[in-house]
């Protein structure tokens, strides 16, 4: 009984001690608090973007642009007014009864954005001149004016030709084209657009998690090594227990941070839902994302984190000084950046063959296979195979990383390179 207690219960309690120490010491650290607060502010800012923009807009002269119209013909104005409100309700036209000179004065006084002088040309069709202080910021007012006048013109011509209104509407109705993919694995364009948002979001989540927390784990190990507290730690608790306790401790820290961000983001989105009808929610496809995609997201996120976290702990154990951490984890960062790039490409062309191939490479699987799963209808065995390879790699790496960690934490040298992995492995052997 006592033997069992010593063999299993004690190491477990030490596991929890390290885990909670890792978690709480980071949670209380200034840098963590500051980074989290900044992220929360950023998220609150982003989700309230519309409101903030409106806030500033309110200070100006309203959001509608006023245009004065001098109608020479005395018959076009009413048609123009009704069609321009259909085209752009941000533009308000006013019949101007004064002279052109008075209109120019009014524009100079910022009473109007500009004024249009509408007349009939030699074919008795409408034409106009537009005057404004600057032409640069009036292009969409000009466009709207042009469209509205074209409609008026069409009305005049068809009326003259004796064509009735319903025929006109038929002529101008757009031809609808429905797109559907013939490849069985491809999802319909609609499904793909829905998935794209979520996949996009997930890629970023995994990418940042690996960048942030991978770095944190490697630094944590390096700090303990450079302060030599590691010698005491490894004589108290087995390096393997330490490594996994640290990885999971940091994972919980990450979940806390992401959880907070998502919570604040969600609450703030909810509060702003009126302004964002169909906005980000629809874009992310969170509303109607299939359950399987969400499950895959969680699975790939966890496995991806585990693999990269072990790699980070292993690399961190090789350096003697904290300044060397960035240098040693650079290769790992390149891996995740490469995965990110391929995934970005895959979002547009998920059936490309090199996307398919790379989705089986364990370091890329968590991101790229997720892109494929999210964007395509791929057979379950493909996903299962890639997850299988990933899990196998994690086991192999757990083994190697634990050994390198065990040797690495005892190694102190002037400079560090990846070649030290071999040295570290040598140390754990008997000779």
């Amino acid at each position: 009984m006592i033997f069992l207690l010593r063999k299993w219960v004690l190491p477990m309690s030490k596991f929890w001690t390290i885990l909670s120490y890792t978690y709480t010491s980071h949670l209380k650290s200034k840098s963590f608090i500051i980074i989290t607060l900044i992220s929360l502010l950023l998220i609150a800012g982003l989700t309230n973007f519309q409101r903030i923009v409106d806030l500033f807009d309110d200070g100006e002269e309203g959001s509608t642009e006023k245009i004065a119209v001098i109608d020479e013909t005395n018959q076009i104005y009413s048609q123009l007014e009704s069609s321009i409100t259909n085209i752009d309700d941000g533009i308000e036209v006013t019949a101007f009864s004064g002279t052109e000179k008075e209109a120019k004065e009014a524009v100079r006084d910022h009473e109007f954005l500009g004024y249009a002088h509408v007349s009939l040309n030699d074919q008795d069709l409408p034409a106009a001149s537009f005057y404004a202080m600057s032409v640069a910021d009036t292009s969409h007012a000009v466009d709207a004016l042009q469209q509205a006048l074209s409609q008026v013109k069409t009305g005049i011509i068809t009326q003259q030709a004796g064509i009735d209104q319903s025929t006109v509407q038929q002529i101008f109705a757009p031809v609808s084209i429905e797109t559907e993919s013939l490849k069985t694995e491809a999802k319909s364009a609609e499904e793909m657009n829905q998935a794209r948002g979520l996949v996009y979001f997930m890629i970023f989540l995994i990418y940042f998690a690996v960048l942030l927390y991978g770095n944190m784990i490697a630094s944590e190990v390096a700090v303990e090594k450079s302060s030599r507290v590691m010698e005491i730690l490894v004589s108290s608790v087995s390096p393997v227990t330490q490594m996994f306790a640290k990885i999971i401790g940091i994972a919980l820290l990450g979940l806390t941070q992401f959880g907070l961000i998502i919570l604040v983001g969600y609450a703030s989105l909810k509060a702003n839902q009126n302004e964002l009808v169909g906005g980000i929610f629809e874009y992310l496809g969170l509303g109607e994302a299939p359950v399987s995609t969400i499950v895959y997201a969680v699975v790939f996120f966890l496995l991806g984190y585990l693999l990269y976290a072990m790699l980070a702990a292993m690399l961190g154990s090789l350096v003697s000084r904290t300044e060397e951490v960035n240098q040693i984890i650079t290769p790992m960062m390149f891996l995740i950046i490469a995965a990110f790039m391929i995934a970005m490409y895959g979002l547009n062309d998920p059936t490309a063959s090199f996307v398919t191939v790379t989705s089986y490479i364990p370091f890329f699987t968590p991101i790229i296979m997720f892109v494929r799963v999210g964007m395509l209808n791929i057979p379950i065995w493909e996903v299962a195979l890639s997850i299988g390879i990933l899990i196998l790699t994690i086991f192999i790496f757990a083994n190697i990383a634990a050994k390198v960690y065990k040797g690495g934490v005892l190694m102190y040298g002037a400079t560090t390179s990846l070649k030290d992995i071999r040295k570290a492995l040598q140390l754990t052997k008997k000779d």
């Binding site: 004690l10 108290s236 608790v237 005892l410 000779d431």
Partner: protein, 299 residues
Amino acid sequence: MTLELKGVTRKFGSFTAVDDLSLEIPESQIFGFLGANGAGKTTTFRMILGLLQQTEGSIKWNGDSIHYNKSHLIGYLPEERGLYPKQKVETQLVYLGRLRGMDKSEALRQLDYWLERFKVPEYRGKKVEELSKGNQQKIQFISAVIHNPKLLILDEPFSGLDPVNVELLKQAVIDLKKQGTSIVFSSHRMEHVEELCEHLCIMHHGRPVVHGDLRQIKRDFGRKNVRVRADFDVSFIQDIPGVVRFRNLTEGCEVQVENESVSQRIFESIQDKGFVRTFDIEEPSLNDIFIEKVGASYE
């Protein structure tokens, strides 16, 4: 509980760091483990702690090999500072104590006791990097003994301490020994070793060159120191056969002789030359033995 090393050898590739080391450290003993830098001390400690595996030989404590399941009985003070510089004294000592299997309240109680004993209770809430070197060393010492270990490895425990604090820690080491702890003590300060250890071992290039009871080692060493102070010139003594080393003093000389009969010869040669103020035969110091065996000075 006895620590027993039998024929322990550790190779790193073609380099042999420790070669056929055998020793035994019973309960309530402070064992001096000496050697120049690179003699294989740290490697030996790491093997005892189970951080490295020996290539050959066995390391047994109380008849069992040492695993992590015994780490709550073992204390280790590494030569270099091993603390979190940015953590508070209390936080990290409780953490390190818990990693040695203590529960929190017990760790806090022991922490109180040791901080009081070392007269530094005010450092409890300070970060380690804010403390002086000597005070950091006290905290380091506490981290090694807070869980009341039965086997304690002390690698240069008194470095950076002033004489008053050396006494404070020395007394703590002696008290632990009295409680039954087996202590492995490594130091470059021979006077500390002579004062604390009855048994010792001097390592040279991974091999134990001297091993055993301190008094026996001195007796076996054979050589003695002879100090002569006289009113006449004594430099002729260096020509007497059996004189190994000669050093001039202001009013005489200090020589090392091969054995006691040589000192007899020196005495005879000076007794009729004039007035002799001092003729003194001394046991060799550990420092003399060390220099002789290792061939170089420590510092």
